[in-house]
């Protein structure tokens, strides 16, 4: 006796609904735990004061600053390098071994796990180049880590700028660079910016590559050679050592909210641009 396929259909539909609901609820549960357990401990004092007693008391200000320094400086280095490379690849060259080589490098690096960046950064920057655990070592490592993403997203964004725009620009006797600067880049800007923001989000949440290069000093980094913590590193140490559950949840909340706002901003920028151009 064959079971009525329409019946199976109904069952499957219900099953998939349940499944999707379950998956979404995992997300909701995770965010809810962090929010409700962390919220009581996040206050202006928490955000603006320094940790005391290894983080058992006090706040997380140095790690917030450390996070901002690391993320912004990395973007400062990686963006011109990455966007410039993308422009070069799309506008100035034809497919050749050189471009294939770069693309191979970008694709391969995209999957490299962060611990390998940590391994590389630690031995190369911290030890061999004698930078010690420092903001600089961290920035250089994270720059290399986000470079492939920025190159990839910029390339995609630039490629998807319609040929028409370029042709019109040339027909108005603009030079190549003028075209890129005034027509192509502005049109590709949202895509490029989205890539940049997603990279910032990644740098902020990164731990393995940061703890071995920037170190874990509790003090606020006042120079490029100072060590410091990012929020992710501080959270990891608090959690792992069982120093303070409350502070850990608080740090997690600030951390997740930061990444969330960066991602939201990225998508807002993306959507504004899509609506602008369609």
């Amino acid at each position: 006796m064959r079971i009525n396929p329409r019946f199976i259909d109904k069952i499957v539909q219900i099953g998939l609904n349940v499944q999707a609901f379950f998956t979404v609820s995992i997300l909701v549960v995770i965010v809810a735990i962090i929010f409700f357990k962390g919220f009581p401990y996040v206050s202006p004092e928490f955000i603006f004061s320094s940790p005391e007693d290894m983080g058992r008391h006090g706040g997380i200000f140095p790690s917030i600053v450390g996070t901002m320094q690391l993320a912004l400086l990395s973007i400062l280095f990686a963006t011109p390098l990455g966007v410039g490379t993308a422009i070069f690849l799309t506008e100035y060259t034809r497919e050749s071994t050189f471009t294939k080589l770069i693309r191979f490098g970008v694709e391969s690096l995209a999957g490299i796990p962060s611990i390998l960046y940590g391994l590389f950064g630690f031995i190369f920057f911290v030890i061999k180049l004698k930078m010690g655990w420092s903001l600089l070592a961290g920035v250089l490592t994270i720059t290399i880590m986000i470079l492939p993403t920025i190159i990839r997203t910029s390339e995609e964004a630039i490629r998807s700028v319609p040929r028409q725009l370029r042709i019109v620009s040339y027909s108005l006797s603009a030079t190549k660079w003028e075209t890129i600067k005034k027509v192509v880049l502005p049109a590709a800007a949202p895509g490029i910016l989205t890539g940049i923001m997603l990279s910032i989000g990644r740098a902020v949440g990164e731990t393995a590559a940061v703890i071995f290069t920037m170190g874990s000093s509790l003090r606020l980094p006042l120079s490029l050679m100072d060590s410091g913590r990012t929020m992710a590193v501080h959270f990891y140490i608090l959690a792992r050592e069982g120093i303070s559950m409350e502070k850990a949840y608080g740090t997690a909340l600030v951390l997740v909210l930061s990444i969330l706002s960066i991602n939201v901003l990225a998508y807002y920028v993306m959507h504004r641009a899509i609506s602008k151009y369609s």
Binding site: P5, Q13, G15, G84, S108, G111, G201
Partner: protein, 287 residues
């Protein structure tokens, strides 16, 4: 006037060439460095002794990472077992059953899930999953099972979004043709849509595997980090990534080279996985 702008063009092109070359330099720097530091030990101790060796005691001259290779694979397979069915069904739901409202709500939700840092997942795993496993199933809770559960959740966004993209790119004509011949929705999905989206979905699984095998922080918090190959899913284990992270700060000399060799093995495995996945996606596009 014309000469001035020509000069400017040349200048700009030159700057961009420098940028592109620098990028290439940095991209390959990390490869070169890891390989150059990792290779000597392979030559000194022997490839088979390292990859096939079962004892990791680097301060005493043993560099066997076989148990860790096995454990890395076990944890990856475990993550797929947990994440793939859930992820694929979610993707099917999203592409075939849900309305616009659901899509608008679920897509950002997925991005959010993907943005949560791995240390937070690890922490939640230690606080909630480990005690659950210990109290209801036995062992210390720091186990293959707990690690697979957390990793499975972590790779959900990857699997869902790639599977979703593959399913959605199946031509409408296929669906309509199938329904026109009297098939039900589910029959259409499972006999027509999934098979045509097959290579994309598989690529998503493989990329998910790549993510799982490269995960470090969450794993060292939950897996227990014991050196033996786990005898059951309730036993602790150590992955290749965990090995590097646990001992990096303390290692020197040959011990450190051993960690680079671990890194080389890890990098080769992930590059292979990425290559297979991209190959699969490209085949799909070519179709």
């Amino acid at each position: 006037m014309i000469e001035k702008s020509l000069l400017k063009e040349r200048f700009v092109k030159g700057v961009l060439v420098v940028f592109a070359l620098s990028s290439l330099f940095f991209l390959f720097l990390i490869f070169m460095f890891i390989f150059s530091e990792g290779l000597p030990l392979f030559l000194k101790v022997g490839l088979s002794k390292i990859i096939g060796g079962s004892k990791w005691a680097p301060t005493k001259g043993s560099f066997g990472i076989f148990p860790m290779i096995v454990s890395s694979f076990l944890v990856t397979v475990g993550a797929l077992v947990i994440g793939a069915p859930m992820g694929l069904s979610c993707a099917i739901y999203l592409s075939e059953y849900s309305g616009k409202k659901m899509k608008m709500f679920l897509k950002p939700a997925l991005e959010l899930l993907a943005g949560i840092p791995s240390v937070v997942y690890g922490f939640l795993g230690v606080v909630y999953i480990v005690p659950l496993v210990r109290d209801y199933l036995g062992g210390s809770g720091f186990s293959l099972l707990s690690t697979s559960i957390i990793l499975g959740v972590m790779i959900l966004p990857t699997i869902i979004s790639i599977s979703f993209d593959s399913l959605v790119s199946v031509p409408k004509a296929y669906r309509e043709g199938s329904l026109a011949m009297g098939a039900t929705k589910w029959q259409t999905i499972y006999k027509v849509i999934i098979p045509s989206a097959k290579s994309g979905i598989l690529a998503g699984f493989i990329l998910g595997m790549g993510r799982a095998i490269g995960e470090t922080m969450a794993v060292i918090m939950i897996a227990g980090n014991a050196l033996k190959i786990p005898g059951s899913i309730l036993d602790p284990l150590r992955t290749l990534t965990g090995n590097i992270a646990l001992e990096l700060a303390y290692a020197s000399g040959d011990h450190r080279l051993g960690l680079f060799s671990t890194g080389v093995v890890l990098m080769v495995i992930i590059m292979m996985l990425n290559y297979i996945a991209n190959f699969g996606i490209k085949r799909k596009i070519a179709k």
